[in-house]
Amino acid sequence: MTSTSVAKPPRGTGQSIAARVEQATKTYGSGDAAVVALDAVTVDFAAGAFTAIMGPSGSGKSTLLHCMAGLDTLSSGQAFIGGTDIASLSDKELTLLRRDRLGFIFQAFNLLPVLTARENITLPLDLAGRKVDGEWFEKVIASLGLGERLGHRPAQLSGGQQQRVAVARALATKPEVVFGDEPTGALDSRTGAELLGFLRSAVDDLGQTVVMVTHDPVAASYADRVVFLADGRVVDELQAPTRDGVLEMMKRLGG
């Protein structure tokens, strides 16, 4: 199990590629009813960087994330996590890839209600039968400020706390890439900002790689780089985005 190199290249410009798709195409249905969600997309995501994927509804941004994360399969083209071509993996290999090498934060319903916060965080490790790296765990918990909440069940936590537990869960295995699917979508703006701050520090302080889909320009402004999708194609990108810059771009795309 290799984790990201600690020697970190400059943001978004490093040679090390954490995730990459080539000629990624995804179509739903067939014949006249066929819908093209991804149209020969080629894009890569640098290790140790925080990348946001944006685009209007139906642009294919979520599909791209799901296909890169091994949650969905491409119709054609290739997707790589590190050097692994995930299109060639079986369902079981994909499952183990997600468990051991990736982290996930969904918009909502990230946690199993019967498990405590701590158990939810260590769930991927437990599923793998691996021991928890105590030092790393403490570091993650401390940076997320979850120390006192570890024994609570999700129902006893606020929405923001639940999402922080989800972030901790995603980071627990020291994954190669953490994928976020609208992680702040269900939070109010203050809690959302807090969460984005944690993701930012996961990249800056813990050396993690984050790829996040969002439709919120404020959220995107926390990233090092924003990739814009429209009609299933990559149409543009911004380095070191600001809220206004993103808004401008979105307006141009008609989102």
Binding site: Q107, P113, A155
Partner: protein, 842 residues
């Protein structure tokens, strides 16, 4: 609302099928019980009506005991009464007949032995009008002393044709005859499964031990005279001790007797049906609880758009009613088939029952529909009412309902009930003969399990909550803790069946142990001879033959009859006075065996206590044939279980009051110096003409008794298997519903790296935990109840207590396996959850 209800029914086909199946099995059992007993009843009615065709009045000895005619136990009449009858005006024809024991042997010399029906010998009617539908299929009626006719069923079984020679065993020995005719009874080949050998009348009288006697006289009225008038006319002409009855009365009486017998049989079947239904109700109750809980949002939405509480309730009840109706219909149809299955099952253990075309009475249909619909609707109403109480917005907010809380008072009441049950069963076991207390204890125990079930389920899950949260048993255990009420109700469905199975197993095992104890306790016989079939008997000729063997020392004959003592039915035994002491140690506690002679009796200490009688007192026995007879108590004995009766008479006194001379058993001791093997060899050789007699040494005897106990246990277990099947459907149902409910959780698990196998494992372990919980609760309660029950049946001869630990352990293991099997479908479904759909916000 109607359209909505119909749609929602069809939208969830799987849960619909499972729910319907649960109701169907229960209803099928109920209808099968009714169909089977109605069919048998009708078969007997047809039979008796057919036999009595052409006969208007029957003359027979007056029965002393009103119940005894049911057992056909009346004294034979002198044959010259036929002449008296013929002289009465209005009599067109009169003919006497005799019936008795006759066992036909097949070509290999083996007895043609029907399972539960008697082997009959009879006289042959020469008046074709009086012979009813008794008809020759081929050949002719026997007319000479060495001729006989046999029933078509026996002839077919043994391959006999007209002209063959066949041997028949009678009370006095074996004789050979030429078969001159094959007879049938209307369309049927046998008399309700009995074998029949019929002879020319004088021969029959001699062979059946009734020379110069008739059991009854069939009379046909002259044209224009009614049966009732003729009966009254005859009654005046007949001597005292004789009675005249119309043929309708007699066949009605016989049919009633059979129906009474069938009534017990039906009740036993209905008890098992009740068990299945109870299990079914749990399953349905649970299913609707979960369904309604899952549909809280749906219900809330309906309420929010303006459906009244009553409309929602009505919709759910309508849905339940439809399920009930469909299931009841299916169950009814399945019941007719199942009736045949139960018949085959009974036949497999040697209980053959007569049959005719399946009878489906309106009562059966009404019962099936009522049971199906009412149970389903009642099970659905409570959750439905609670669903309508939900405030619309609350339900819309919460995704999945929390069911985890258990009321404090509920827990307290449940634990108190369980404690009361344990105390009652323990007391009953200690005090013995406490049938009522045992029943109450078992009921309290079950009620306690129902009430405290959720608490216990949670406690059990707590025990299983081991290992890592993501792997191991922990996740499964916590999922159970999440809805302990549901888990408990699911598990208790399995508990019901297992409780009964275990209770029966403990009683059966204790019975077997008692047999062993009994034989080692008071038996001194080296060989025990019994008829191979429970309905047969041993010809008294056997005892005479044994008496002449040099290797044999003492021979004891035992005959067995029912009579009435102090207005209660009592078992009476007649035995050879002189050899009692050689063959068994009765455990005399007062008086002396030396005083036991004609005119006196031996009384068991148990009966003595009930009658408040002691040595020297007089006990009056009312015999069905001869009425009241008084005997002086010669001695009291303790080991009544050894002989199976509380009243022992000398063989002479017994024979004076009971016509049948068949021995229930013959017991033999070896002459001094004769080895057991030698004795057995000698006895076997001497009894070559009696293939129906089973010769066993005490060990073999015990084994054969134990084998028949095992057979009954097997039968009961097979019937209860249906209840277990319903319970398994319930487990599957609960698992499927909870998988559906947890789609998103399962998807999330898959997304963060749980393999399909890991997901399946969690579901399977939930299933195993529920099954084990149900099984352990059932085994504990069943064993407790079984111990108390065995103690309560101390008076019925269960003197020992034996808990079959190995069998009980097997039940628990089987339950775990059932859990694994029940989880196959739901687990597969869980592992195929669409990850993307599960984690996408809807």
């Amino acid at each position: 609302m109607l359209r909505y209800s119909l749609r929602s029914l069809l939208a969830h086909k799987l849960r619909l099928v499972l729910t319907v199946a649960a109701v169907t099995v229960g209803v099928a059992f109920v209808s099968a019980s009714f169909v089977l007993s109605d069919t048998m009843g009708k078969a007997f009615d047809e039979l008796f009506a057919g036999l009595a065709k052409g006969t208007d009045v029957v003359v027979r000895a007056e029965s002393i005991d009103a119940n005894a005619t049911a057992r056909g136990q009346v004294r034979p009449l002198d044959e010259d009464i036929v002449d008296t009858v013929r002289k009465v005006s209005g009599v067109a024809a009169a003919e006497g007949s005799v019936t008795g024991f006759a066992l036909i042997l097949d070509k290999d010399g083996q007895p043609i032995q029907p399972g539960g029906a008697p082997t009959l010998g009879s006289s042959t009617s020469t008046d074709s009008d009086l012979s009813g539908n008794f008809s020759l299929r081929s050949g002719q009626v026997p007319a000479a002393p060495d001729e006989m006719a046999v029933d078509a069923a026996s002839a077919a079984k043994a391959g006999y044709k007209v002209g063959d020679r066949a041997a028949v065993i009678f009370e006095d020995g074996t004789e050979e005859f030429t078969i001159t005719g094959i007879v049938g009874f209307g369309d049927t080949d046998s008399l309700a499964g009995a074998t029949l050998a019929s002879f020319e009348t004088a021969t029959a009288q001699k062979l059946l031990g009734k020379a110069g006697k008739f059991d009854q006289i069939d009379v046909r009225a002259a044209d224009g005279i009614s049966a009732v008038d003729l009966r009254d006319e005859l009654a005046q002409a007949l001597p005292a001790g004789t009675e005249a009855l119309t043929a309708d009365q007699v066949s009605g009486e016989s049919a009633q007797a059979i129906r009474d017998g069938l009534g017990i049989f039906t009740n036993v079947l209905l008890t098992f049906a009740g068990v299945s239904l109870l299990v079914g109700s749990f399953v349905i109750w649970n299913t609707f609880n979960v369904l309604v809980a899952q549909r809280r949002r749906e219900v809330a939405l309906l309420r929010a758009v303006g459906a009244k509480g009553g409309q929602v309730l009505g919709g759910i009840i309508l849905e339940a009613g439809l399920i009930g109706l469909v299931s009841a219909g299916l169950g009814l149809a399945a019941g007719v088939g199942l009736a045949g299955g139960i018949r085959s099952l009974l036949a497999a253990v040697g209980i053959e029952v007569p049959t005719t075309a399946a009878v489906v009475e309106p009562r059966t249909i009404v019962a099936a529909l009522l049971v199906g619909v009412v149970i389903t609707v009642v099970a659905a109403v409570v959750p439905a009412v609670s669903a309508t109480r939900v405030a619309p917005m609350e339900a819309l907010r919460t995704a999945t309902p929390a069911d985890g809380s258990i009321g404090r008072s509920r827990s307290t009441v449940g634990i108190l009930l369980l404690a009361a049950s344990a105390a009652a069963l323990a007391t009953a076991a200690l005090l013995k003969d406490q049938l009522v207390l045992t029943g109450l204890g078992a009921l309290a125990g079950f009620a306690g399990l129902v009430v405290a079930g959720p608490l216990l389920a949670r406690a059990m899950a707590g025990l299983a909550n081991r290992g890592r949260a993501g792997g191991g048993w922990s996740l499964a255990a916590r999922n159970i803790t999440r809805a302990p009420k549901r888990a408990a109700a699911t598990a208790l469905a399995l508990t019901i069946g297992l409780t009964v199975v275990c209770a029966v197993a403990v009683v059966a095992s204790s019975t077997k142990a008692s047999v062993t104890d009994l034989l080692s306790g008071g038996n001194r016989a080296d060989l025990i001879l019994q008829a191979a079939s429970p309905t047969g008997g041993v010809s008294p000729a056997v005892a005479r033959i044994l008496d002449q063997q040099a290797e044999v020392d003492a021979v004891l004959e035992l005959r067995f009859s029912q009579a009435t003592v102090a207005n209660k039915s009592a078992s009476i035994i007649g035995l050879t006075r002189d050899t009692v002491d050689h063959v068994m140690d009765l455990g005399i506690t007062a008086g002396s065996l030396a005083d036991f002679r004609n005119g006196s009796l031996l009384l068991s200490t148990k009966q003595a206590k009930q009658l408040d009688a002691g040595v020297g007192d007089t006990v009056t026995i009312t015999f069905p044939e001869t009425g009241e007879r008084s005997y002086e108590v010669a001695a009291l004995f303790e080991r009544d279980a050894l002989v199976g009766a509380g009243y022992l008479l000398t063989l002479d006194d017994y024979a004076g009051n009971v016509t049948s001379r068949m021995d229930a058993a013959v017991m033999v001791t070896a002459a001094s110096g004769v080895a057991a093997g030698k004795l057995q060899q000698q006895v076997d050789d001497a009894l070559a003409d009696f293939p129906n007699v089973q010769v066993s040494d005490p060990t073999e005897f015990a084994k054969s008794q134990q084998a028949s106990v095992d057979q009954m246990l097997g039968l009961v277990t097979a019937l209860l298997a249906l209840a277990v099947i319903v319970a398994v459907l319930g487990i599957i149902n609960t698992l499927v519903l909870s998988v559906v409910e947890r789609t998103r959780e399962l998807g999330l698990m898959r997304a963060v790296g749980a393999t399909r196998r890991q997901v399946r494992t969690v579901i399977r372990r939930e299933s195993v935990l529920m099954s084990l919980f149900g099984a352990i609760a059932g085994v504990l309660l069943g064993t407790g109840a079984g111990i108390a029950l065995a103690r309560a049946m101390n008076g019925e001869g269960i003197s020992s207590l034996d808990v079959p630990l190995a069998s009980l352990a097997v039940y628990v293991v089987v339950a775990a396996v059932i859990g694994v099997l029940a989880a196959i479908g739901p687990a597969r479904r869980a592992s195929r959850v669409d990850v993307l759909r599960a984690i996408t916000v809807d």
